[in-house]
Symmetry: C2
Subunit: 334 residues, 2 copies
């Protein structure tokens, strides 16, 4: 039997600058009832991702903001508890549940059934889901790393960066990670197999970047912005590609920082291009077909940072924005 209560995390107010615990509120509401064609979902894992910071602000972005008092946005993996649709049965595990909460109802049609024998179900939120597809799309369409090129990946131990770097490595590139702290850097080189990893907190980070990339940088995967972008940009080589995926270090800035002067885009024939994975959801099967065999063969590595309990989601999210997570951040709720 379901518990009597659905614990939810609501957006209490729009953050000003740094996100704070009291920008969120906890609500306890009745378990919803599924309507025709719908299923009742018990959430197992919630996915916390940097893009959710954008949804907390009213500023124009590529998706509508979360309303004040509404449930915070995320994707989740969930177990079907009751079904009003023949396509899904109780016990099925699906991707596509929604929101920082323990329960939800959803139309069966929009849910993707997961096979735990293929991979742990929560990978549908990480390497086999949005972050993995992000890395695949950005590297295929924009980065296009070639054998012998130098590829630099910021937030290299994160859910997207770790995969982006492994894709570049498989393409024969020299791959340099950037991460925060010695432990993450050791993981990036030791576990993920990058050629080097630099700690952006080191005082001599720009010099370390010169030493690691003596001929400059052919592909830069931008997850971070800020001081890391300012160090990388002047080191881009002729014909370099800058894959604009995110700029997490600036998400709490109340006023945007100035960017680089773009004349070097002419001189160096740079391609600076942004993308959003939700434009390419239809390519998820393409990515899973590539990734599942590699994961099984141990050739594509990933790491999860799992926090337990819905009440801990706000603190975990605040930590994510400060780079405190280590691997794909998940909240285990079921």
């Amino acid at each position: 039997m379901p518990e009597a209560v659905n614990t939810q995390v609501l957006l209490a107010r729009r953050p000003e600058g740094v996100v704070r615990q009291d920008d969120f509120a906890i609500a306890r509401t009745p378990i919803p009832a599924p309507g025709a064609g719908e299923v009742l979902l018990r959430h197992l894992f919630l996915s916390l991702d940097p893009y959710q910071r954008g949804r907390m602000s009213a500023a124009k972005s590529y998706a509508a903001p979360v309303a004040i008092g509404a449930v915070m946005e995320c994707r989740a993996v969930a177990r079907v508890e009751a079904s009003n649709d023949p396509a899904l049965s109780p016990g099925d595990v699906v991707l596509g549940a929604y929101g920082w909460q323990e329960w939800s109802v959803a139309p069966a049609k929009g849910l993707m059934k997961l096979d735990a024998a293929e991979a742990p179900v929560q990978t549908a939120l990480g390497i086999l889901g949005m972050p993995g597809l992000t890395a695949h799309v950005g590297m295929s369409d924009i980065g296009q790393p070639k054998r012998g090129e130098t590829v630099v990946i910021s937030a290299a131990s994160g859910a997207v960066g770790a995969v982006a770097g492994q894709i570049a490595k498989a393409a024969g590139a020299r791959v340099i990670g950037i991460a925060g702290g010695a432990e993450k850097c050791a993981y990036v080189t030791g576990e993920l197999g990058f050629d080097a990893c630099l700690d952006h907190r080191d005082g001599d980070f720009p010099q370390a970047l010169d030493a690691a990339c003596p001929d400059g940088i052919d592909v830069y995967w931008e997850n971070v912005g800020g001081a890391v972008q300012r160090a990388v940009f002047p080191r881009l080589r002729d014909f370099a590609r800058m894959v604009m995926c995110g700029m997490i270090a600036e998400y709490n800035d109340p006023v945007p920082q100035p960017g680089p002067n773009l004349m070097s885009a002419v001189r160096k024939r740079l391609r600076i291009q942004g993308f959003i994975v939700s434009d390419s959801w239809q390519r998820l099967p393409e990515w899973r077909a590539v990734a599942v065999p590699l994961i099984r063969a141990g050739k594509l590595r990933y790491r999860e940072d799992v926090v337990s309990g819905i009440e801990n989601a706000p603190a975990a999210f605040i930590g994510l924005l400060a780079g405190k997570n280590f691997g794909k951040l998940l909240v285990k709720v079921g």
Copy 2:
């Protein structure tokens, strides 16, 4: 008989900020003698182009700087006066002569023979040469305007902008020019057929841009930088392309201005890409095959701004950097 003297314009010193007349020096040297396989060339037209500002500076760019005391760089159309190669005869007119001077010698092999019956020979420096090819390559490879899109062209009456806008117009786009002054704007709409043209010197230029592009901008052809770029950038639409061709308004800046924050490249999936036409010289025949019939049919218009006399080249070039020319700037020397 050739005159006894070759008048040349030399780079006297590297400019600091704004280019000045005394950054140049006039020299009078003997007419050179062609060696084996070479021809003696009487220059007819010199091409003055914004990229030559870059060659005056020692800063790293995509081509080596002109040395102090050396002849200023340019391409020229010239008449063969003497030939040591069977491929060319006295009287032939060629593209490929070199330098702000009245005479030169060059290997016959590197010269392209021009046919005055096809088009006026000086068009090989303009619409049928480097500037025209620039517009063709940038629009084909990066801008890719589609029917119904809004395309904004800066320096719209200039040698590159005028062609870029006509290409976009032919592709079915709505084309908005930006130029300096009412006379140029009248030419851009009246002669070139753009849908509108805005004077960037008007105090309400940003508001005029909003009015001319109520749904935003899909393609921006960047020739200018500075305040024009700052007005255009926030008005780019989702999936917009920014064709980075040049930033002439900033070429005299001793310190680069900050650029736009690049987070909008993510949010809007922008593609900001630079190119240099010299990477694509091999496509000149492709462009000429497109352009010659259009010019003959009156469907592709161009305008030349011709200054007479080599001694007037420095002042004309200084005017070019200030937007004082009106059409492709040429110096008639022969």
